[in-house]
C-alpha cells in the first residue's frame, strides 16, 4: 500500500516536473508576487484608514492625486498578481506530490502556511477582481472579508518565506542557480529545513539512472532496457517519461524556461496594459478591458451610486431645496441661488474610487472654508455631512479638519463646465482633495460642526 502510494506520488511528480519548475523560478516569481501583495496591503490600508479613521488620524490633502494614484496602484498590482500567482503555483506544482507528505514538524508548518496562503490569495484576487466588476456571487460580505484576509495573506506569506529562506537565499541570483550548460543546480540536502523537500527529486534521478540507458538523448521514443513497472502503471510511467525526454537536453530546457518566463511576463504586461487605463492617463488609449472608461457618463464623468438607487430623484429636484449649515446654536440655510451668488472657487480635483478607476474633473462652487466662516466654525473641528439619501452606508460622512479647512475643498455646483447632473449630486456635492469617491458626498443636505 505504502509503496503503491509512493509510486503514485513519484509518478505524479515526474509528470508534473519541467525545466521551469524549479526553486530558481519559484524564487524569481515569489519576489515579484510578494512585492505585489505588499503594495496591495499598504495601498489598501491607506484606503481603509481614510474611510474608517481613528479619531486622532490626519491625512495629507496634497498632492490632490495621492488617493487616486494609490488606489490605481492597488487595483493594478492586484491584476498583475493574477498571472504572477498562476506562474508561481505552476513553478511549485510538483511539490504537491511530496513523499511522504509530511516528514518533519517544520513541514507541517510549511504545508499549513502554504495551504492558507494559496486559498486566501486565490480567493482575494478572485473576489477583488469581481468587485471591480460589481459582481458579488459569494455568500459573505466583500469589504470585511477582503480586509481580514489581507492580514492572513501577508502573515502566511511571512511564515512561508521563513520556512523557505535557505532556498530563497540559495537561488537569489541566476548565476548561482544554473551551471555552465544551463542545467539547474539541485540544492544540497542541508539547505532544506526538513531535508525531505528534494529527496524525491534525487530519488527520481537515481531511479532514472538505474532505469534508462543515459547516453545521448534520442529524439524518437526508445524502450528503456531495464525492467519497468508492468500493466497500466508501467504504460503511464513510460508515456510520461517519453514526453519528458526532450527536456533533458540542456539547450531545450533553457529555451523552455525562457518560454515560461516570457509567457508570465507577457501576460502580466498584457493584463496591466489593457486595464490600467481606467486609473492612469498614459495608458488610457490602451484601455480595452478596464471595467471603467474615463469621459463616459453625465458631465463626461462615470457614476457609481445613481440618484434612483439613492432614492433622491424627488428630494434633489425639489425647488425648495436648502443646504443647512449648523454650528451649535448658529444655523444658516442656503438655497441653490444663494450658493451660486457667492464667490465661486475653481478646482481641478480627481474623483477616485476604491475600485481603482478615477477621473480628474473641473469643479466649481463656493469654497467650504468660506461657508464655514459664515457660521463661525473654528479651524480645528470636524464636520458631519449628511446627504439627501434615505439610507446607505455613506449617507452620513465625517470630514476631518484637514479637509474642512483646505481651501481646495468645494461645495460643488458645477462640473466640467455644466450644472451638476443629478447622478453627480445635484443640487450640490462635496469635493475634497485626496479622498475616496464614496466620501465625496452627493446630494448635500446638512453640514454640522462637531
Amino acid at each position: 500500500m505504502m509503496s503503491a502510494m509512493r509510486q503514485l506520488l513519484l509518478t505524479l511528480r515526474t509528470a508534473a516536473s519541467s525545466p521551469s519548475r524549479n526553486a530558481r523560478s519559484a524564487t524569481v516569481l515569489g519576489r515579484l508576487l510578494a512585492a505585489a501583495f505588499l503594495v496591495c496591503l499598504l495601498t489598501g490600508l491607506y484606503s481603509h484608514f481614510l474611510q474608517e479613521p481613528a479619531s486622532w488620524m490626519r491625512f495629507p490633502t496634497s498632492p490632490v492625486w495621492l488617493y487616486q494614484v494609490t488606489q490605481g496602484i492597488h487595483i493594478t498590482a492586484g491584476i498583475a498578481a493574477i498571472p504572477l500567482l498562476l506562474g508561481k503555483l505552476h513553478a511549485v506544482f510538483p511539490q504537491l506530490f511530496q513523499h511522504p507528505p509530511v516528514r518533519h514538524p517544520v513541514q507541517v508548518l510549511e504545508r499549513a502556511s502554504i495551504a492558507l496562503f494559496i486559498s486566501t490569495s486565490v480567493l482575494q484576487l478572485v473576489t477583488g477582481l469581481l468587485n471591480t466588476y460589481q459582481w458579488y456571487p459569494w455568500p459573505f460580505p466583500f469589504k470585511q472579508v477582503h480586509f481580514a484576509l489581507s492580514f492572513v495573506i501577508i502573515g502566511s506569506l511571512a511564515v512561508h518565506i521563513a520556512v523557505k529562506l535557505p532556498l530563497i537565499t540559495r537561488y537569489w541570483r541566476a548565476r548561482d542557480s544554473y551551471d555552465a550548460d544551463g542545467r539547474f543546480v539541485e540544492p544540497s540536502g542541508e539547505l532544506d529545513p526538513a531535508r525531505a523537500e528534494h529527496e524525491a527529486v534525487r530519488e527520481l534521478a537515481r531511479m532514472r539512472r538505474d532505469d534508462a540507458p543515459t547516453s545521448t538523448p534520442q529524439p524518437a521514443a526508445v524502450e528503456p532496457s531495464a525492467p519497468q513497472p508492468r500493466g497500466l502503471v508501467g504504460r503511464v510511467t513510460r508515456w510520461i517519461d517519453d514526453a519528458r525526454e526532450p527536456e533533458r537536453d540542456p539547450a531545450r530546457s533553457r529555451v523552455s524556461r525562457r518560454g515560461f518566463f516570457g509567457a508570465i511576463g507577457a501576460s502580466t504586461v498584457g493584463v496591466v496594459a489593457l486595464t490600467a487605463g481606467q486609473s492612469f492617463t498614459p495608458l488610457q488609449p490602451l484601455n480595452a478591458f478596464g471595467p471603467r472608461q474615463r469621459g463616459i457618463g453625465p458631465n463626461d464623468l462615470p457614476v457609481n451610486r445613481t440618484a434612483s438607487a439613492a432614492k433622491v430623484l424627488e428630494t434633489a429636484m425639489d425647488p425648495d431645496w436648502q443646504l443647512t449649515i449648523a454650528h451649535g446654536e448658529r444655523t444658516m440655510a442656503f438655497t441653490a441661488s444663494d450658493l451660486q451668488a457667492m464667490a465661486q472657487g475653481d478646482e481641478r480635483l480627481p474623483i477616485s474610487c476604491v475600485e481603482g478607476w478615477s477621473q480628474t474633473a473641473h469643479w466649481r462652487g463656493p469654497r467650504l472654508v468660506e461657508l464655514m466662516a459664515l457660521v463661525g466654525a473654528p479651524a480645528d473641528r470636524s464636520l458631519r455631512v449628511t446627504s439627501l439619501e434615505e439610507k446607505g452606508g455613506y449617507r452620513v460622512m465625517l470630514m476631518g479638519p484637514e479637509y474642512a479647512t483646505d481651501p481646495a475643498t468645494l461645495v460643488a455646483l458645477e462640473v466640467n463646465g455644466g450644472r451638476l447632473d443629478i447622478e453627480h449630486g445635484y443640487p450640490a456635492r462635496m469635493i475634497a482633495p485626496g479622498r475616496p469617491g464614496v466620501l465625496q458626498t452627493k446630494w448635500l443636505s446638512l453640514i454640522e460642526v462637531i
Binding site: G182, L191, R244, F289
Partner: protein
C-alpha cells in the same frame, strides 16, 4: 541575466549565510514566523469582529473551493497539456514551442480576467458607466491579435534560423 561560465558546486551566497544554520538566517526566520503568526491572528480576529458567524461556512467553502479549483482543475489540465505537447511536439523547434506558449498563456490569462467581466455585464449593471464596453467582441479581437503576432514571431524566427543554418553550411 549574467551567468559566469564556471559555477562552483557550492555557491558563494549559500556559503556566506552558511545555510540554515547561519545566525542571520535563524534570526530572520524567527522574526518572520513571529510576525507571520501575529498577522494571521490579527486577520482572524478582524474577521470575527466584523463578519457574522453565520457567514463563516460560506467563506470556508469558498476558501477550500479556491484550492480545489487550482490544484485539482487548473494545474492538472496545464500539466496534462504540457505533457502532450512535450510528447507530440518534439519534432517542432523548442523556440517555436516557446513562442506558441507565450501566445497561448497570454490569451488564456486575458480570458481569465475578461470572461467574468462578460458574465457580469450580461447579468446587468447598476448603471451604463459600469462595464461600458462590448467585452466579448474585444476579447475575440485580442485573441486574433495575439494569434497574428504569435504567427509573425514564429515566421520571423524560422526564417532567421534557416538563414543562420544556410550561412553555417555555406
Amino acid at each position: 541575466m549574467t551567468r559566469s561560465s564556471a559555477v562552483p558546486a557550492v555557491p558563494s551566497s549559500a556559503a556566506s549565510g552558511s545555510g540554515a544554520s547561519g545566525r542571520g538566517v535563524r534570526v530572520a526566520r524567527a522574526v518572520l514566523v513571529v510576525v507571520g503568526v501575529a498577522l494571521i491572528g490579527l486577520g482572524g480576529w478582524v474577521l470575527t469582529e466584523t463578519v457574522s458567524p453565520t457567514r463563516y461556512g460560506g467563506l470556508l467553502v469558498w476558501l477550500i473551493g479556491a484550492v480545489i479549483a487550482h490544484d485539482a482543475v487548473i494545474a492538472p489540465v496545464v500539466a496534462g497539456i504540457a505533457l502532450i505537447v512535450g510528447r507530440t511536439g518534439r519534432r517542432i523547434s523548442p523556440t517555436v514551442l516557446a513562442i506558441l506558449q507565450v501566445g497561448i498563456v497570454l490569451g488564456v490569462v486575458l480570458s481569465l480576467v475578461v470572461v467574468p467581466e462578460i458574465i457580469s455585464k450580461a447579468r446587468g449593471t447598476k448603471n451604463d458607466t459600469v462595464l461600458p464596453f462590448d467585452y466579448g467582441t474585444r476579447l475575440a479581437v485580442a485573441w486574433l491579435v495575439v494569434a497574428v503576432l504569435t504567427a509573425l514571431a514564429v515566421v520571423v524566427w524560422t526564417v532567421l534560423a534557416r538563414r543562420r543554418e544556410a550561412r553555417r553550411t555555406a
